[in-house]
């Protein structure tokens, strides 16, 4: 049985991993439908839910890069 199916986001501030669909606060936000910025439920830090963007996703795919994961940050220290 698969444990995780939805892609997790790693907060670049605190390293907390979470699923965007589980964010109750975003579901309450009146501008949620147009907003691709999500808040970490641990520290509140904003990240980009790249799946919810169109233009940014397109540019990102051209660039061939992704939002860095926390592990990568630590490696660079």
């Amino acid at each position: 049985m698969g444990i995780m199916t939805e892609k997790e986001i790693t907060c670049t501030m605190c390293g907390y991993k979470y699923k965007p669909s589980g964010l109750h606060s975003c579901q309450s936000c009146p501008i949620n439908h147009d907003c691709s910025l999500i808040c970490c439920p641990n520290c509140g830090f904003q990240s980009v839910d790249i799946e919810k963007t169109k233009f940014t996703k397109f540019i990102s795919s051209l660039w061939g890069t992704k939002i860095r994961e926390n592990k990568k940050n630590e490696e660079r220290l």
Binding site: C14, C26, C35, K54, I67, N70
Partner: protein
């Protein structure tokens, strides 16, 4: 061997499962997989949407292992934490395994001492030992085990290191006899509590402590398991205890635990220096230092002022607004519209004084877009460098003066990104009082990134002194209102505990992608609001109400604030979004209609104005409609009051008139 066989038998004879408990992202799931193999069942915990993973461990004589959701704080606040608390409180458990981060011993131990108080068999697996060593963290595990009176096993679960020893330690079913001494009156209460409660799922002492700390699940357990007489007795004992203490009981308990954790950490951990972290470590310490931290903050602010104000609002806006829009695009579009649409009403609606293109789109694209673009870039650099949590730690000293501390600081700093989202983030605060005070302060004095960009851009056109006056006044209002609100709204304060991520060089791709995402949001959310606002202004103008409003607002706007009468129209725009109003001021200033003094007064007033419509909706939804109405009723007159006072003070000082 004989001893091992005995413990194995005891383990086999005991009933229940093994619960893996720990902070988020400490490697619980990896340890779970190491103990149980690949097979796991995932199901929602009864009555919740939170997933709990269970698996069977062969190494532990086919005992069920439960991987609980990560806990950030106990008593629980989030639904995830509630589930973990329920597992600890209600499920039959053979033993608890706390998985902790060896790099972050303080945070780990704060949970350990609470789990040890449950008086159930407990093992501490200090995971990510390899990373701790890399960072120069050295833990004396034997001494730590001695202080905590429980097995402490260093593990690097991802490589399977330490798992065998962990399994042995679990089988030993070692009961900790660790005890913290609380103040005498709390100890007295705990003794009374223990005599009145029987068949408690965890030790009566820890149940009593959890209840004093405000754990609602204990309240439910008491209601279900003790008679109403005893419950009333316990309530009155608790109330008496609180009356004897000025400080909240939960804060006293937490303080004792923090002191114990600090002592144990100091005795058992040594933070060495490695070549890679010496510089960043030093810089990191300086950013939160009371003096150096402020100097670094001043340097950061000056950098933003220069980049956003001088470069963004000066060079970029000059080019886009004056040269391109006013010089080329707008005359061409106006000519085209007027030439093709013969009806003046419609052409005015598109390209007139309050035209959708000449006002709405020009404000959005030529004035604000370049400013917010450079501000989003600057903000992205700060975010990606890990500076913002350090700003939160530094600000904590000032916010503590307001009676605010702990996680309350984070939404305030994050409000600089988006006030609407920060208002939602206020949910992470534990006390109702903090949620309310933070919501008020966010609505009043925290400009969001778009507003901040426009304000900084506009003020940069005058001088750095104007920026300092604006920021000084807004910060002062924040302090005074926050202090007053904290005094007037009763409630408890939660302690400050933030994990600082490493300070690092920002990655260009991250900053650019985040800036693009923010700009996409800006164009989708803000531009339509600008167009709606422009349409409202057009209608008000056409039906003759706008003139009436400007006239009616004269005593306040001209008499009290000392601004030109036309500024009333800008304030109406500010009702929709503060940056829309600020853009109007920008244009008035560029047309020479405002003196530096008037501009600073107008900027302070509009910054303190009611937040954007989305924020008001969120406040109504999160707190209540009454709270939202009350906040607006406080903010609106307060913004005008502060603006008027500033006008008089600056006039007296002879500044910028």
């Amino acid at each position: 061997m004989h001893c091992h066989a005995t413990t194995q038998t005891t383990f086999l004879n005991s009933e229940g499962s093994i619960a893996l408990v720990g902070h988020p992202n400490v490697g619980k799931s990896v340890i779970f997989q190491q103990l149980t193999g690949q097979h796991a069942t995932v199901s929602n915990y009864p009555g919740t949407t939170v997933e709990v993973i269970r698996g069977v461990s062969r190494a532990l004589s086919r005992t069920v292992v439960v991987d609980t959701p990560g806990v950030i704080t106990l008593p629980p606040v989030s639904e995830d934490e509630m589930v973990t608390a329920q597992v600890l409180l209600k499920e039959p458990l053979k033993a608890i395994v706390q998985v902790g981060d060896a790099k972050n011993l303080r945070r780990t131990l704060l949970l350990t001492v609470q789990l040890a108080e449950l008086e159930r068999p407990l093992v501490l697996a200090l995971n990510m030992e390899d990373e701790a060593i890399q960072r120069g963290v050295s833990v004396n595990y034997a001494l730590l085990a001695e202080h905590l009176t429980l097995p402490v096993i260093p593990t690097t679960a991802i490589r399977g290191q330490g798992i065998d020893k962990l399994t042995e330690a679990i089988i030993s079913l070692s009961h900790p006899h660790f005890r913290m001494n609380y103040p005498a009156d709390i100890e007295g209460f705990l003794a009374e509590f223990s005599t009145r409660t029987t068949k408690t799922p965890i030790s009566p002492r820890s149940l009593g402590l959890a209840w004093l700390s405000g754990d609602s699940s204990v309240n439910t357990w008491l209601l279900e398991n003790v008679s109403s007489d005893i419950f009333q007795q316990l309530i009155s004992l608790k109330d008496d205890l609180q009356l004897k203490n000025i400080e909240q009981l939960s804060s006293i308990i937490q303080r004792v635990r923090l002191e114990v954790v600090e002592t144990i950490t100091r005795l058992t951990m040594v933070q060495g220096k490695t070549a890679s972290n010496t510089f960043t470590h030093k810089l990191s310490q300086l950013t939160t230092h009371p003096l150096w931290g402020l100097l670094i903050l001043a340097f950061v602010l000056y950098g933003i002022y220069w980049f956003v104000g001088v470069f963004g609002a000066g060079i970029l806006v000059d080019f886009l607004e004056e040269d391109f829009f006013d010089g080329i695009l707008n005359p061409w579009i106006t000519g085209l519209v007027e030439g093709t649409i013969p009806i003046p009403l419609i052409s005015d609606f598109l390209v007139g004084e309050y035209g959708l293109w000449t006002m709405g789109m020009t404000y959005a694209l030529a004035l604000i877009l370049p400013i917010v673009t450079v501000f989003f870039l600057a903000f992205g650099v700060l975010e990606d460098s890990g500076y913002l949590p350090r700003l939160a730690a530094l600000s904590n000293r000032f916010f503590r003066m307001l009676g605010l501390n702990g996680k309350a600081v984070l939404p305030m700093v994050l409000g600089l990104g988006c006030v609407t989202m920060a208002t939602l983030t206020a949910r992470i605060l534990e006390s109702k009082r903090e949620r309310l005070v933070v919501t008020l302060l966010l609505a009043l004095a925290i400009p969001c990134s778009a507003q901040l960009g426009v304000v900084l851009g506009l003020l940069a056109g005058i001088s750095f002194g104007a920026t300092l006056i604006w920021s000084g006044v807004v910060f002062l209002v924040l302090l005074v209102v926050g202090w007053l609100a904290a005094k007037l709204i009763p409630g408890e304060r939660s302690p400050f505990m933030v994990e600082l991520p490493p300070l690092r060089l920002p990655v260009l791709s991250n900053v650019v992608i985040k800036t693009l995402a923010r700009l996409e949001w800006y164009l989708k959310e803000v531009v339509p609001l600008f167009l709606i606002g422009t349409a409202v202004m057009f209608i008000l103008d056409r039906v003759g109400i706008l003139g009436g409003i400007i006239q009616a607002g004269e005593p306040l706007v001209v008499g009290w604030l000392g601004l030109p009468a036309e500024t009333s129209a800008v304030f109406i725009m500010g009702f929709l979004r503060r940056d829309f109003g600020a853009a109007g001021l920008f244009l008035m200033a560029s047309q020479g209609m405002l003196t530096p003094l008037q501009l600073v007064v107008a900027m302070v007033t509009i910054t303190l104005f009611i937040p954007c419509i989305a924020s008001v909706f969120v406040i109504a939804k999160e707190r209540s409609k009454r709270t939202a109405a009350a906040i607006v009723m406080v903010i609106f007159p307060l913004a005008l009051l502060v603006g008027g006072i500033l006008n008089r003070v600056l006039l007296l000082l002879g500044w910028g008139s």
